[in-house]
């Protein structure tokens, strides 16, 4: 691989665009998922699970910040990336923006599983990134994410074990599975190719998507859940192969800038305080006391 892409001043337009696209995918997913998780604070079914999900939300916000920091090197400021950004410019998967129905804990648990399983694959593909700051951050983030997956699976298995819990999980899967496919949809196919060519990430979206399906599909079926869309090809004797077709995908995919209405409501909500205070700086609320 040619350059280390370390010096932001030396990036050409193609490198810059690839880096920006990759980082916005990463950061926006984490940030928006955290925004949704925080809705469960004081509403989760037990104090332990309330704390766990609040903590996961805090992790995701921390990770979003680590990725937004790298965008800082190429000229972006936090406020432009979060509070002053056009909501249609966010590139998160629509899986993370969907609202929760009141009290639908199974949705939160399943969503977390679908996301965290994908997140592990994605982070693995960044371990040897040619961008030193990306590679520097991956280990820390992975060590924190491992707990999220364990938490989600622990709950999934318990919910799937009861009639009502199983039914709720199936409902959630029917709703969320199409949106989960968008985790591996391109922002722009040419730029996605550049991301891999430049060595920023060492796996394509297709490769990561296939790996994700080969993990989540058998696992969900082991819990007696039925896939709302089954794209498996072959008779099952060969290697796992699953084809995601256009019809299986929702209209709004997030990556390409299309979002569901729920996203715009959420955006209004988390930017409200910023707007009402007339903020122009995000990181400090008041001067440090002497």
């Amino acid at each position: 691989m040619a350059t280390s892409l370390e010096n932001p001043d030396e990036l050409d337009e193609r490198e810059r665009r690839a880096l920006e696209t990759l980082l916005k995918r990463l950061a926006d997913d984490e940030f928006v998922l955290a925004e949704r998780y925080t809705e469960w604070q004081v509403r989760a079914p037990t104090l332990e699970s309330d704390l766990a999900l609040a903590n996961n939300a805090q992790d995701e916000l921390g990770h979003a910040r680590l990725w937004y920091d790298v965008l800082g090197d190429i000229g972006f400021e936090e406020r432009e990336l979060v509070y002053e950004r056009d909501p249609a410019d966010f590139r998160h998967s629509t899986l993370v923006e969907r609202p929760f129905e009141d009290g639908d804990w199974a949705d939160a648990v399943l969503r977390s599983y679908l996301y965290d399983a994908a997140e592990e694959i994605r982070l693995e593909s960044l371990v040897d990134s040619t961008h030193p700051k990306i590679a520097d951050r991956v280990g820390k983030i992975r060590s924190e994410e491992a707990y999220h997956l364990e938490h989600a699976q622990n709950w999934l298995e318990r919910l799937a074990d009861g009639d009502e819990g199983h039914e709720r999980l199936q409902d959630a899967l029917d709703r969320l599975f199409p949106y989960a496919f968008t985790l591996f949809e391109p922002v722009d196919p040419d730029v996605e190719e550049d991301i891999v060519d430049l060595g920023l990430r060492d796996a394509t979206l297709e490769e990561m998507g296939e790996e994700w399906l080969s993990i989540v599909v058998p696992y969900l079926e082991s819990l007696d859940l039925e896939l709302p869309a089954d794209g498996r090809v072959g008779d099952g004797t060969d290697e796992f192969e699953f084809e995601v077709t256009e019809e299986m995908l929702p209209e709004e995919r997030g990556r390409d800038g299309t979002h569901t209405d729920a996203w715009f409501d959420l955006y209004d909500e988390f930017t409200r305080t910023y707007r009402e205070l007339g903020r122009t700086e995000t990181t400090r609320i008041m001067d440090k006391p002497e």
Binding site: Q58, D59, D69, D136, G139, R158, G162, K288
Partner: protein, 138 residues
């Protein structure tokens, strides 16, 4: 009423009571033991900064990965125990202010680094004593 609570009580204790133990790193914790001149003064200033939650210096906690001074500019490599640390701005500003206030330092540059990731193995022996005195088992 249907219930999702299993009848049998096969509950296992929470698995997260142990702090994740990390691998030891030969160069860390960095403590500035062999620093001289202005760099040693910078390390002294860093020793004076405590973690916001526990009575332990950020150096003994193992947060400082390196210090260099070049032509009056002091550069500090530092990590945080946790990516979602809510005291990040507070701590980094404390460090920048303390280092910039060292006599002979014209400018302080702080770089947040995340690998190797911080683990309890990074805490110095003195830091472990401080934490034990505080009531933590380490």
């Amino acid at each position: 009423m249907s219930s999702n609570i299993p009848d049998d009580t096969d509950a296992t204790p929470c698995a997260y009571t142990d702090y994740r133990e990390g691998e030891t790193n030969d160069d860390l914790p960095a403590t500035g033991d062999d620093a001289t001149g202005l760099a040693a003064d910078v390390w002294d200033a860093l020793y004076g900064i405590e973690d916001p939650e526990m009575p332990i210096s950020i150096v003994d906690l193992g947060l400082i990965y390196g210090v260099s001074v070049d032509d009056g500019v002091a550069s500090v490599d530092m990590t945080l125990t946790y990516s979602g640390c809510p005291a990040r701005d507070m701590l980094t500003e404390d460090v920048e202010d303390a280092v910039a206030a060292v006599d002979g330092v014209d400018d302080a540059e702080l770089r947040l680094v995340w690998s190797p990731e911080w683990t309890v193995e990074m805490v110095t022996e003195r830091g472990k004593d401080d934490l034990r005195e505080f009531g933590l088992s380490i």
